[in-house]
């Protein structure tokens, strides 16, 4: 399977959610005898999805949207957090009827609720705009035609505050006649024994006897009415996963897949019912008796054994991908591993054609300026950096910069990509002055400072990332380059770039930048110690953040450039792997508009061919790129050559700006 587990299997690693409504399912797991066999960790839902997909846990109380995104997990039968009718804790609140709302603030901490909300609005043919906001901010932005989707305690707290309230589970019941399942136990295939299942089951039964005390404790903690909480746990939430709940779950997955909000997900139930725990037999019978619930025949998977679980064929997957359906992590992994070069290329080309039907490939005239090579991170794959105090360390002078910038302007350039090492001598004022000066004197687009550099400045100045981003934005920053993402899986990052930020930090800087109104690109450098699974996970993390913020303009990837001065052997690489990976990016990243061909690393020939593997952007006419070229790759190419390459590949070329706006007519 696609999860690696180090060492001997010891205790089952269980992930629970801190939320009140989840507590009855896991509380007893914190006590013996469960603690002998299981190790419970509590985390917010997004962390749950991450930990399970990176193999750090075996089973988790996953939101159902997260389970679909990962794919290939087993549903543990019998237990869920569900509601039939009013759930009270998930609602759209507003001062006006929902049909009159033009925008809705989303508390993004629950993707399942967000997807449900979108489905319910779409069903009413309502198309308000959405924007992400933390809970308090979401609630405070409710005014006039702006509503908010609120969840959890925040939703319970303001139950009576707004005149209009759409309870999502209630609305779902009205639409489908089915209960709604918010979360359930999902396990990595094959790790749960019948005994484990029985243990979770027992924990639930114990939990159900403790609803009063759980409500009381939560009331003391939050100040919410104890009676109201007791009623919430005892009546609004349902903890059984029965026939109707499963139908509700499958219906939700199927509706969300049709709406392209989630990968299509087939139900695979855990096989433990067969071997032990006779009391579960009735549920198994129920599962088996459920008629086909969606066109893919998701319910047709025999739940008696995961061995008989039939996955869709590669051809079916490729067709779904080409049609623009969302792929789960497991599906993406499988395609990346098993599909042929042509299959991936043709599917990606089909997606590119649909997203960019004009047959246009864009490029930008810009210059990559590396303002300093002094860096404290010592990444093993980097041949560019020099440690602090090294004789070859430099910071470009204003004069040197002025010359370079003037050349960009003279050549018709519209942007500079400004990146450098993490130089402890450069303070935020340096960047602010620099940006203001560049904007004032040259008016160029500023695609500058990767997340790593922004974090570095924040640490250096002891300022929150948000403040740093805001100040840089005010000084003229237009867009944040996606460099330094490498592979957004911490196991890999630790091996290749120990001193660099974690994947969570990288994503969080991007989230903040997007919230500040900045756009950014996303990148991936593969071909070191990363595996196919890691690359697919990288795509999923980018896609998840993009769901939240829509802030990424484009995605670029390249393989590790192994050359002089690099202290690391290459892993898998090569032109075929590059094209496969880029094609896969086009298939996985259904919510990112542009995929760029990285001709600077791959060479203009492969870069051109990459336009037939899902890319719609040819990157830039670059004057210099010292990071990549010091590793030995140095391709120079001018605008007319780029245009003729684009034309030869069968497209028309257009010059663009940093925001991917067209600056010329297609030629």
């Amino acid at each position: 399977m696609f999860f690696e587990r180090d060492g001997l299997v010891s205790r089952l690693r269980v992930l629970g959610v801190e939320y009140l409504n989840a507590r009855p399912l896991w509380q007893a797991l914190t006590e013996p005898p469960a603690t002998d066999r299981m190790e419970l960790r509590l985390a917010p839902p997004s962390e749950l999805v991450r930990a399970l997909s990176e193999g750090e846990a075996d089973v988790g109380l996953l939101p159902v949207a997260g389970a679909a995104a990962i794919g290939d997990l087993e549903l543990v039968p019998g237990m869920a957090i569900a509601a039939r009718g009013k759930v009270r804790s998930v609602a759209i609140v507003a001062e006006r009827p929902v049909s009159e709302l033009t925008s809705i603030a989303l508390d993004l901490s629950s993707r399942t609720s967000v997807v449900l909300g979108r489905l319910l609005l779409a069903r009413r043919k309502l198309t308000p705009s959405f924007f992400g906001a933390p809970p308090e901010k979401a609630i405070s932005s409710v005014k006039g035609r702006t509503g908010a989707l609120v969840i959890g305690d925040a939703a319970l707290e303001i139950e009576q505050r707004f005149p209009y309230r759409l309870d999502l589970a209630e609305d779902w019941l009205e639409w489908t006649g089915l209960p709604f399942v918010f979360a359930a136990w999902f396990a990595r295939p094959g790790v749960m024994t019948a005994e484990h299942v029985a243990m979770l089951r027992t924990a639930k039964q114990i939990g159900l006897t403790r609803l009063d005390s759980i409500a009381k404790a939560h009331s003391e903690q939050t100040g919410l009415s104890e009676a109201s909480l007791r009623d919430y746990l005892a009546h609004a939430i349902r903890y059984d996963l029965g026939d109707d709940e499963v139908r509700g779950l499958v219906r939700f997955w199927s509706e969300a897949a049709s709406a392209r909000l989630l990968p299509s997900c087939s139900l695979v139930t855990h096989a433990a019912v067969q071997v032990g725990a006779p009391f579960m037999a009735p549920e198994r019978a129920i599962l088996e008796s459920i008629p086909l619930a969606n066109p893919e025949g998701a319910m047709n998977r025999a739940p008696t054994s995961n061995k008989t679980h039939q996955r869709p064929s590669l051809d079916v997957l490729l067709q779904r991908a080409a049609d623009g359906e969302r792929l789960s992590l497991a599906e993406g992994t499988r395609l990346l591993r098993d599909a042929s070069l042509f299959e991936l290329g043709l599917a990606a080309d089909a997606v590119r054609r649909r997203k960019h039907p004009h047959g246009v490939v864009t490029y930008i005239v810009d210059r990559n300026i590396n303002y300093t090579n002094v860096c404290t991170t010592s990444c093993r794959f980097c041949a560019f950096y020099r440690p602090v105090g090294h004789a070859e360390g430099y910071v470009l002078s204003r004069e040197a910069l002025a010359r370079k910038l003037q050349e960009v302007v003279n050549a018709g350039g519209v942007q500079i990509l400004l990146q450098g090492g993490l130089n402890p001598d450069l303070r935020i004022g340096y960047y602010e002055d620099l940006f203001r000066w560049i904007k004032k004197e040259y008016g160029l687009g500023l695609h500058a400072l990767s997340p790593e550099e922004i974090l570095h400045i924040a640490r250096l100045e002891n300022l929150p990332v948000a403040t740093v981003t805001e100040r840089l934005r005010d000084a003229g920053l237009d867009s944040v380059p996606g460099g330094g993402a490498e592979i957004l899986v911490d196991r890999v990052r630790k091996k290749i770039a120990k001193a660099k930020c974690t994947s969570g930090e990288w994503l969080s800087v991007m989230r903040t930048a997007h919230h500040m109104g900045l756009r950014s690109t996303a990148t991936m450098m593969f071909g070191t110690v990363d595996t196919v699974e890691d690359r697919a996970l990288h795509f999923m993390k980018i896609r998840d953040l993009q769901d939240e913020t829509s802030g990424f303009t484009a995605f670029f990837c390249w393989d590790f450039q192994f050359e002089n001065g690099v202290h690391m052997a290459p892993g898998e690489h090569g032109t075929h792997l590059y094209l496969r990976t880029q094609a896969m990016a086009r298939l996985m990243l259904d919510n990112v508009d542009h995929i760029g061909a990285s001709w600077v690393t791959q060479g203009p020939g492969v870069g051109q061919v990459a336009l037939r593997f899902g890319a719609d952007d040819f990157g830039s006419v670059m004057f210099e790129e010292s990071v990549v070229s010091s590793a030995g790759t140095a391709f120079g190419i001018d605008a007319s050559k780029i245009e003729s390459r684009i034309r030869d590949a069968g497209f028309r070329s257009v010059r663009r700006d940093v925001h991917y706006n067209w600056l010329t007519d297609p030629i």
């Binding site: 591993r337 070069l341 042509f342 090569g574 032109t575 094209l579 020939g605 061919v609």
Partner: protein, 398 residues
């Protein structure tokens, strides 16, 4: 994929031969991958998952040349001109001698048409190489050179070839094919062998039992129709003689020659040309991706666009180098193996006649592991192909 390409696909699956119009249509098909997938299918049908390469070296003895080809950045016309250079026999032999601790299996000699060297020079050259390494394969002198020798020394093609064969010549390289169309050919390479001469030299060589390769220089002033015409003339020769081993499409490189204002063909054109060659030349066993002309990266891609051969280590190439090729001068054997493996193929070191010298184990990378289904299919195809080959070689006695 255009309808016409779908028709071509159906034709190919029925085993029908492609026509001139089919060839032009394949060049015009906007969907590169559609053409590539067809060529890949044809290639895998013949060669399964194997890709060939050899350990060879290039020797270019003289750049003095009486021909004046617009596309050439190599020739220096007359012996007294600056940069003109002609090796002595000893210098030419030393090229091999210094490599005798890890000798190549083939020497590939291509020269300018030097008016001042005696015929015995060439005979001695070959004899010397065989003295140094008796089992070395000598793939020397293009059809253009053979034609030049015949004219210059007043012999027939057959006389030239027999004398050179007696001196040690084993096969002819394919250089000098350029474009057969008479109009184009006279404009880009006046004063050298015509298309008819080129084809006749190959015909005579084949009748003598000497295998040859064939080339096409594309991406200059020719049209797609000219390329198809070129390929079909080769196909007709091959129908007649069965003597062509491999076909090499050579990309025009514009630096430092008489056509420097033309853009070089781009990778998409390179891959398409290789793919169409594979599809049209249904009677030629091997299609080479000559990495010196394509760059190793594009050559690597070509292994999925119809090519089954990456040529060789090519120590000492200067003709493309002078025309601005960015490819490295020579590739280590290990590098070729890596390029082939990364393309998901199994590397086979071959000799000039495509006898297997060494089959490399397939790398245990996921790229390779992915293709269980493909491998089964390829094995089946290979079995069928070998049965067919066995039948056809009985017919021709080759």
């Amino acid at each position: 994929m255009l309808d016409v390409t779908c028709n071509i696909r159906d034709k190919l699956r029925r085993g029908e031969r492609l026509t001139f119009d089919d060839g032009v249509a394949l060049f015009l098909e906007p969907d590169l991958l559609a053409v590539g997938a067809l060529a890949n299918e044809a290639c895998e049908k013949r060669h399964g998952n194997f890709t060939y390469f050899n350990r060879n070296m290039r020797v270019e003895i003289t750049n003095v040349c009486v021909a004046s080809c617009l596309f050439c950045s190599f020739a220096k016309l007359e012996a007294h001109m600056p940069g003109a250079h002609t090796m002595s026999l000893e210098e030419a032999w030393r090229e091999l001698e210094v490599r005798m601790d890890d000798p190549p299996s083939e020497i590939h000699v291509v020269n300018g048409l030097h008016p001042g060297l005696p015929f015995s020079y060439y005979e001695e050259l070959l004899r010397g190489y065989k003295r140094i390494k008796p089992d070395i394969h000598l793939k020397c002198f293009t059809a253009v050179e053979i034609h030049f020798f015949a004219q210059h020394f007043g012999m027939t093609y057959q006389e030239v070839l027999v004398r050179l064969r007696d001196a040690g010549l084993d096969s002819l390289p394919g250089g000098g094919g350029e474009i057969f169309d008479e109009d184009v050919r006279s404009r880009i390479s006046a004063g050298k062998a015509t298309a008819a001469n080129y084809l006749e030299v190959h015909r005579v060589a084949h009748h003598l039992g000497m295998p040859t390769n064939a080339t096409m220089l594309y991406g200059h002033i020719e049209t797609f129709a000219h390329r198809v015409d070129h390929l079909l003339r080769l196909r007709a020769l091959q129908d007649e003689t069965k003597g062509l081993q491999a076909f090499i499409a050579l990309a025009f490189h514009p630096d430092g020659n008489g056509m420097k204002n033309l853009p070089a063909p781009t990778a998409v054109d390179d891959l398409r040309t290789i793919a169409v060659s594979r599809l049209l030349l249904d009677n030629v066993e091997h299609i080479k991706a000559y990495w010196v002309s394509l760059t190793p990266d594009v050559a690597q891609l070509a292994l999925r666009f119809g090519a089954d051969d990456l040529d060789g280590t090519v120590v000492h190439e200067t003709i493309y180098k002078n025309a601005g090729s960015h490819s490295p001068g020579a590739l280590e054997e290990g590098e070729l193996v890596r390029l082939i493996r990364e393309a998901g193929r199994i590397p086979i070191e071959r000799d000039t006649l495509y006898n297997v010298i060494r089959e490399y184990p397939r790398a245990a990378v996921p790229e390779a592991a992915l293709k269980v289904k493909d491998r089964q299919r390829a094995r089946r195809a290979l079995r069928e192909a070998s049965v067919q080959n066995a039948c056809s070689s009985k017919e021709t006695g080759s």
